[in-house]
Structures are given as C-alpha cells and as structure tokens.
C-alpha cells in the first residue's frame, strides 16, 4: 500500500477554473455513486475549505476569486481500482495572479517552487473565454465563442475587444518617431503577451525546475462553451481544439516528448454560466449535480473529473 503523500500541481492563469474544478471534484469523489476512476478512501482531517467551495458550487454561485490571501491546500486520499491502492494527494488551490506575476517578475515563492519540483504532475488549466490572441496584421482579439455565448457573455467579450482595440487606437502618431518612445517602445510588458506565449513560458519554467519526465494534463475548462451542454464529442476533441486555438503551446507539448508527456481534457465542472438566469434555471432543474459535469479526454468516463488525477498519479 502506498500512502506516501504526493502532490499534484493545479495551476493556470487567473480565472482558468481551478477552484470550480476542485469544488466539483470534491463533491464527485465523496458523494457521487457514479463510475469513477478514483474515490476518496477517507475524509481528510480538515475539509472546511473543500466543503465551502463545494457549497458555493452546489448553490450555483460563482467561486470567490482565489487571491494570494486565500490560497488553501487540501489533502485527499484516493482509492484506486486495485485493492489497497491508496494515495494521498495534496491539492493546492492557488491564485492564478501569482502565476501571472511570476511570468513577469521571473521569480516565484520558494514554497511554490517546492511544489513545482516535487509534484507528481501538473494540471494546467485554460479557460476558453479568456484567451488573448494577438498576431501581426490582425486585430487583437479574444477567441470567438460567440456561437455559444449568452447575451451577457457576448457583451463581456465585446467589452474586452473594445478595450483592446481602443488601446491600439490610442497610439499617438508621433509614437513611431525616435523622439517618442513612451507608448509603443516602452509600454510592452510580459502581461501583454498572448495567452499562447504565456502558457509556453509557464511550461518552460515548470520544466526548468523539475527533474525527469513530467506528466502534464491540459484542462480546457468551461468545455460546455465549446461542445454544447451535451458534451457529446470524441475524446480527442479537446486536443484538436487546443491545436486550433493555442498552436504554440500545442507544439511545445508535442515536440518535447523527452521532457514531458501530456494529455488534453475538456472539462465543464460548472455546467453553465451562473450569470445567466436561464442557465441557472436549467442547471437547478437537474436531478443530480453529476449531470452538470462534462469530462472528455483519453480514458475518461463522461462525468469523471478524477480521470486526469488518475493518469497523473499513475494509478492502475
């Protein structure tokens, strides 16, 4: 029996869906009677944080933004499918703000570094609604999800687009002359990088701090925005979405097989937009919370959020 605690690093840029994933996973592994890759073998000593975020999830409310001040970690003991196969995972709920700051500052906290270096693997979250694309000759844009957005969500995307476009328009004519460096000579910051480049930078940083081959589960959260509510797509659909949407990251994951092994999952832990009354009504009408959950990927049952953990943990 292996009871040695190990950890899995759940990380991503701000708003990428980490906390919602943990909340739904906690409900799933403790209360669901469905077929799961992993189940909890015993309740943790301290489950206050897990139960708190689970309650928010069950009430169809948005999770509080995880900031540096309210980061938590929880230890979960999982039972694999093989009798006696029990492992304890430390699942930290970390602030995406810290990750973004580290990309700019080229430093992160020692405690985080220990986690990066020692984790069994990495779950890297990407939210399809907050992907920033910016290529030469194109108007900077968020990835177009208009076909699947509610009116409120469309307005949010339009606002974001307007903000980016107006920032381009505000470049004064003289900014291109030698004597005016301020706007377009000095204003660039790593925070302005497209999401694709930020995630490549992040993966490279992780690999630079680790020894051996790293398992990376790329989690495309809010998968219902892409697949629709039924989520009925092939298991390689998230991988193909990633290829189309984040091509630089796709290449970095696929061409560094010596250093990493990766899988791509499409996950909808929330099930819909809590800001849309019609969605809330639909979700609240479901008989079981399990029906809100979509999980697509390799060796993954339709609602099983634990599949990426099972793979990273090397469970049989």
């Amino acid at each position: 029996m292996n009871t040695q605690p190990s950890s899995v690093l759940l990380t991503g840029l701000p708003g990428s869906g980490k906390t919602t994933f943990i909340a739904a996973l906690w409900w799933l592994v403790t209360e669901s009677s469905g077929t799961l890759a992993l189940k909890v073998s015993a309740l943790p000593e301290d489950a206050e944080h897990l139960n708190g975020i689970m309650g928010t999830w069950l009430r169809l409310k948005r999770q509080e933004h995880t900031s540096a001040g309210n980061e938590r970690e929880s230890a979960l003991s999982f039972q694999g499918s093989t009798p006696g196969e029990i492992r304890t995972f430390v699942v930290p709920d970390l602030a995406g703000d810290n990750v973004r700051e580290a990309i700019s500052a080229r430093a992160w906290q020692g405690t985080f570094d220990v986690l990066v270096a020692s984790a069994s693997g990495i779950m890297l979250f990407v939210h399809p609604r907050v992907i920033h694309v910016d290529l030469i000759g194109d108007v900077p844009a968020l990835v177009d999800l208009a076909a699947n957005e509610s009116p409120d969500e469309l307005a949010e995307i339009e606002d974001a687009r307007d903000a980016m476009e107006s920032s381009q328009e505000e470049v004064p004519e003289e900014a291109t002359s030698e004597s005016t460096p301020a706007m377009n000579r000095e204003a660039w910051s790593p925070a302005d990088m497209p999401t694709d480049a930020q995630l490549v930078d992040l993966v490279q940083l992780f690999l630079s701090r680790r020894v051996g081959r790293t398992r990376i589960a790329l989690i495309v959260s809010a998968w219902d925005l892409i697949a629709g509510h039924d989520g009925a797509e092939a298991s390689d659909a998230p991988k193909e979405w990633l290829r189309r949407t984040l091509p630089l990251l796709t290449q970095a994951l696929e061409t560094n097989a010596d250093d990493l092994e990766h899988r791509v999952y499409g996950i909808s832990a929330q099930g819909g937009d809590f800001g849309d009354p019609a969605e809330v009504e639909r979700l609240s009408g479901l008989l079981r919370p399990l029906e809100r959950i979509i999980a697509i990927g390799p060796d993954c049952e339709p609602h099983d959020l634990s599949a990426p953990l099972k793979w990273i943990g090397g469970f049989a």
Binding site: P92, W108, I136, G137, M193, D201, P247, N256
Partner: protein, 290 residues
C-alpha cells in the same frame, strides 16, 4: 502558500554572449547574423518568423520546440503589431541597445521531431552596418561574425522601390560584403543570404523595381559566391500590404535554408574561437563568440 523566499527563474530576454555560447558550442546550433541598414526590416522579419509558429501548429515543415527568449520575441512581435498599419513598419530600435545579444528559437523538423535545431539570431543594425562599410577595424571586430553560420544581408525593399535610394542601398550592401570578406569576418564557413525585404513595396512600385531587385540580388550573390560556403537569394514580405501576397511571404524558404544548410566545422578551423577550459562541459560552455 504565500510565505517563503523567492526563487529566481530563467530569464526570457535576449541572450548575452556567454549565454549564447552554451548553445553555439553545440552541433545543432545555427548562428544567424541579420545585417542591414536602419529600418531594413530585420527584427520585423524575425518577429514574423516567430509568429508563423503562433498561427498554426507547424510552419514550412518545421515545428516550434522552445525558446529561452520568449519575452524578447514577444516584445519585437508586439512592436511589429503596433506598427503593422504603417507604411514603414518600425521595429528596429527595439533592439537598438541589444547589439551583441541573441534571440533563440529552437525548432524540430516535422519528419524528424526528435532532433532539435537551435537558431541563434544576432543582428548588426543601422549604425554598426554603416561602420562596417566605413571601417576595416570595425569589420574585424564584429561580435559573432566568425562563428556565424549564416550572414543575412538585407536589402531594404522600401529603398529598392525608390529610384532615388536604390543605388545607394545596393552600393552599401556591396561594400559591407567586401569589407567582411577582406577582414575575414566571413569566409568559406559562412552561408550568405541576400534578402530583399518588404517585397510588397517592391511589387507595388512596379516591374522596373522588381527587375532591379532581382538583378541586384543576383549580382551581389555572384560577387561573393566563390569566397563563401554558398549563396542564396530570397524575397520576403514579413508584413504584407499587397493583395495576393500573404504576410510571411518568402519565410519558409529562408527558414529551410537556415536549418538545412549547415557546415559542420571542427572548432579548430574556426580560428577566432577560443576554448578557455579543458573540461568537456566547460569547453562547450565557454566557446567564445567573437
């Protein structure tokens, strides 16, 4: 999770000489020096090349593997994006203070994904370019020259499209090449690419400009071909404003040239390279770019 000391992480900015040496000492590294007059389009071309890998999951038969200078590449790409609507895109000054530094892009071949090729890009921009033309001493002491696998001489398409500027642009390139050969800064170890940039502007100017660009490129290549490893002629449009000419025009052939045309010289034949340690690891790490 919020306490504790901070751990410093790898930079993602341009590599300085010693950092570049670690890669340059290896067999699968190509040192590529981009040289040309101010605003010829050197960094715009580099930004556009990098961005091709951001547009799709492969480009010209190659795939992105990694870059230790992601921030530097993104910075120049940002600059190119900001200026892409202008008639004269300006990204040159972004790297103005970075002379002697290198951007890195590591790629793999689509058909040979296990073998990485490191591309190290240095540049001699405007003022240095003029100094090389004017001074033998400057030509003898250029950073990275003798280690360069590829010397990319850029002919500013904007100048070639201007009847009042084009002769001076070609003359300058001719003199720079001659200086570099006489100073033995380049030689039989060096592949030379003559690249006409901003080809969209050349085409827009008409057939006379197109013919002039083709003829002058060929003449320049012919003049040095017997004294260098090989020569090739390219036309590129990193940012195209010409219908029918897509952004990144000409870059696949240039990338293929940089990756595939490579002479493997023993270090002893590259006389200016100094090895300052006898330990194998350090020999790799301390080969000096000159």
């Amino acid at each position: 999770m919020t306490s504790g000391l901070f751990v410093e992480l790898d930079r993602a900015e341009l590599l300085d000489g010693p950092e570049a040496n670690v890669l340059a000492g290896g067999p699968d590294c190509r040192v590529i020096i981009l040289c040309g007059p101010h605003d010829a389009g050197k960094t715009t071309m580099l930004a556009a090349l990098y961005q091709q890998f951001c547009r799709a999951d492969r480009f010209g038969g190659y795939r992105f593997k990694r870059s230790s200078t992601v921030h530097a590449l993104e910075r120049i790409a940002y600059q190119a994006r900001v200026n892409s609507g202008e008639d004269e895109p300006q990204t040159e000054r972004t790297l103005a203070s970075q002379s002697g530094k290198y951007a890195e892009l590591t790629v793999v071949r689509d058909a040979q994904p296990e073998k990485a090729v490191h591309l190290l890009f240095g540049d001699w921009w405007g003022e240095t370019y003029r100094q090389v033309r004017d001074s033998a001493e400057r030509a003898r002491n250029l950073p990275g020259a003798r280690r360069a696998d590829h010397l990319v001489v850029l002919l500013d398409g904007g100048a070639l499209a201007d009847p009042l500027e084009r002769q001076a642009a070609v003359s300058e390139a001719r003199q720079v090449l001659r200086r570099l050969l006489e100073a033995q800064a380049i030689g039989i170890q060096t592949h030379v690419e003559i690249v006409v940039t901003k080809m969209d502007l050349v085409r827009r100017a008409g057939k006379a400009s197109i013919d002039f660009a083709e003829l002058m490129s060929k003449e320049l290549a012919d003049e040095v071909s017997a004294k260098v490893a090989s020569t090739s002629i390219h036309q590129v449009a990193a940012i195209s404003r010409q219908p029918g000419m897509e952004a990144g025009f000409g870059l696949p052939a240039l990338l293929r040239r940089w990756v595939e045309d490579h002479l493997q010289f023993p270090a002893s034949e590259l006389s200016p390279i100094r090895v300052t340690s006898t330990r194998n690891f350090d020999r790799t790490a301390t080969v000096q770019l000159r």
